[in-house]
Symmetry: C2
Subunit: 455 residues, 2 copies
């Protein structure tokens, strides 16, 4: 064993999640899992390691740059960058076992060697759900409805799911005079970041890509028209603004159906709207796109996705339409904390069983028996293993945030009683009095008393 | 995007876990998590990627050989090989935040470039729990008690937790004449594999390591004595057999206390026994060791662990005693399936809402509304998205194993009724009749009827 002393540290851009942080992560994951399953999605678990040939070139040069690739033995390998390419591989590889439409969810870590920043990690948990094999807008509407249900279940009461369609965007770019693929993309990207950068910068970028002053002024004229549309009648207004673009018409027809279905799914209208400036980064989207914004949170989107009808075939799979979206676990939790939706919970442990005298075998045995009896009733119980005095043990329980402590000294053992202590109720005065708030009760009443204190 | 067609495949030694397999994995993980928390252990999540300097040399040359190491940018990295070295790093790194004794559990993938075999993967899930900071046997006894509780909760009713102590083994080896470190290790390894290989082979190996014929015959004499010990009185018998070995005496005193505590924890005596031949592979154990064997399963151990008082300091952490054990998820599930403890469940989805006429907007909207109403009641509901006939849709529901289907045609919509269908009850005759077992009921009675069928 190599026993050279090293400074213990994480790889930059990754971190450890300790006790109470994991409770919160698990709570969010369980809620998402619950909603995914309520909507009939089934789980899929793929390995973090994929063959390099499966990943390479799927995310463009930037994605390859940010990917972890390595060789072991004769195999060229990589760590997954998202759950979408593994999904495409699974669909290709297990096509005969799967029953289509295939609705699956995937929750697990993905890896990107991005520049670490506050809240941006190189290893983070993505929670994806996708519907493979359905081309109709009902699937996209269900993706939006699930997003709404999950966010509400998590406790969010103010958010906006923004909807758009790539074809609408492409058509508007064309109608605005973008006549090359590069200019179209630049228009889309400019609309997408309107809220983040100022117009001068956008103007400069358009110029760099070869846009004439006339084209730039046309771009901003259209942009202002888009920004001034009324939410209530937006589909109709867009139709009137761009009457001659078949792509716009096609995308709007789909958005219109989606809006109709989303209403049937029971999503209240204040939680979603068409935003004709929404573009989303990834090139592979082909139809509806969506992302969730919480203005108060001062952070980008907390969910995002869209339709990608060509991706599975492009990744070597069968030609199947697909749509889906993704929740970023770390981002969701960060917003929940910012908005005060969740309160930190120090521990899940409910009862601390102290050992009156750690040097007395009778005392140790009694404590073991009490702890075992509580655990058998499903009470989360920590058995003290600190060799110090009872006071020292109780202070540990208190520091851990455990609400109830139990112990029995020789006097109590003789009488068949136990001491139950309320550590959760605050005391008056400067310092918490560790000796207050305790009751001696018959041992057979222990469970009743503990439940009463926990309620 | 790289669109070169490739054969979709996994990295050898890894695999995908689809729907019903993940349900089972989740069920086992949830049960373990529940028991860990009932025993007051808190969760710890560490990244799969560690700096290479944290991992390198910690598992001996064989471990390094089996580890995935790679470079990204300026960083030398590796994938974790187990949860123990990350635990040691966390204890060193977060010593000031943690309250000791630190009882943590960790559930997640570990990676070993081992030779893939049936049931042995290069990426598999380990579920570890450890107590850091307690030197007393009460901690080892609690590890055994937790193991018992978890296996019972999972449905196992016949297993044996075998206990031993490294010091007992070392002392017996010495008493048997093993006078070098190498011979001692060879003796330990030979005892450990007594059940797997024949005596001739062991004899040959001992000879290769330099044991004389007399020493070999003494080894087997002692071995036969160990194998003939009575379970009931084993501590006393071992004391009498090896009266002059202080290490044996020390180890036996600890085992005796453990046995006493294990009884107090309420573990019935048929579920554990001292096995003086148990050695366990890893070199870092310093005291009690334990593993769980199920003879009927024809597989090795399903849990294993022990005390490792020097490891955390050796790994660069503070000098803290520690003990713990590990459940191998894939192995546990494989044994559960072999023993018939668990039945495969095709889907968790409870209701399939079919669309009477996918081309009629009213029909689609009705189905969406029915599905949403059921989901709001927590019923796991798949909304059909297949464009085919109602018969085709119902056959999909049936293939998926969904027990109940619901739909409403224009006639029913007019009357305010729905059709509910029992797909779970088998029919007589060769082929399942997809049109049998259905009832037309008022829409307001839907939830009641569905619940009745699901019970």
């Amino acid at each position: 064993m190599n026993t050279k002393k090293i400074v213990a540290r994480n790889y930059r851009g990754t971190r450890d999640w300790l006790g109470s942080e994991v409770y919160l992560r698990q709570k969010v994951i369980n809620t998402l899992r619950e909603v995914f399953e309520e909507f009939g999605f089934e789980p899929l678990e793929t390995p973090e390691i994929e063959l390099q040939e499966v990943l390479l070139g799927k995310y463009g040069p930037e994605g390859d740059e940010l990917s972890y690739y390595f060789k072991k033995g004769d195999d060229w390998l990589g760590l997954r960058y998202d759950h979408t390419v593994p999904l495409a591989r699974v669909v290709a590889q297990h096509e005969k076992e799967l029953i289509f439409p295939y609705k699956r969810y995937a929750i697990g870590p993905v890896f990107r060697a991005d520049k670490p920043q506050a809240g941006r990690y190189r290893r983070f948990i993505q929670c994806d759900f996708d519907i493979v094999g359905v081309a109709e807008p009902i699937a996209d509407a269900e993706v939006v409805a699930l997003t709404y249900t999950a966010l509400r279940r998590l406790g969010f009461d103010k958010f906006e799911i923004q909807l758009n369609d790539r074809r609408v965007l492409n058509g508007i770019a064309k109608a605005s005079g973008a006549d090359t693929k590069e200019l179209t993309l630049t228009f889309l990207r400019s609309w997408d970041k309107l809220e983040k950068v100022n117009r001068e910068q956008i103007s400069r970028e358009l110029k760099e890509k070869g846009a004439s002053p006339e084209l730039i002024s046309r771009f901003f004229k259209v942009t202002d028209q888009l920004l001034n549309l009324e939410k209530e009648n937006i589909i109709e207004e867009l139709r009137q603004l761009f009457p001659d673009q078949p792509e716009v018409a096609q995308g709007l027809a789909v958005l219109e159906k989606m809006l109709d279905y989303i209403e049937d799914f029971g999503v209240p209208s204040q939680f979603y709207r068409v935003n004709p400036c929404l573009a989303r980064g990834l090139d592979y989207y082909t139809g509806p796109i969506f992302e969730t914004v919480i203005k108060e949170a001062g952070i980008g989107s907390i969910t995002g996705g869209g339709r990608y009808d060509n991706l599975i075939a492009a990744l070597g799979g069968p030609s199947l339409p697909a749509t889906g979206s993704s929740f970023g676990l770390e981002r969701i939790i960060s917003v929940m904390q910012t908005l005060g939706i969740t309160k930190p919970q120090k521990t899940l442990t409910q009862v601390f069983v102290a050992i009156f005298d750690p040097d007395s075998p009778t005392s140790v045995k009694k404590a073991i028996q009490i702890a075992s009896a509580l655990r058998q009733e499903g009470i989360k119980t920590e058995l003290s293993m600190e060799k110090g005095s009872i006071g020292r043990q109780l202070r540990i329980a208190d520091r851990r945030g455990i609400p109830v402590a139990v112990f029995a000294g020789p006097k109590e053992v003789k009488k068949g009683t136990v001491i139950v202590k309320d550590l959760a109720t605050p005391f008056t005065g400067e310092k918490k009095n560790i000796w207050a708030n305790q009751w001696e009760i018959p041992e057979e009443d222990l469970l009743k008393k503990v439940k009463e204190l926990l309620d």
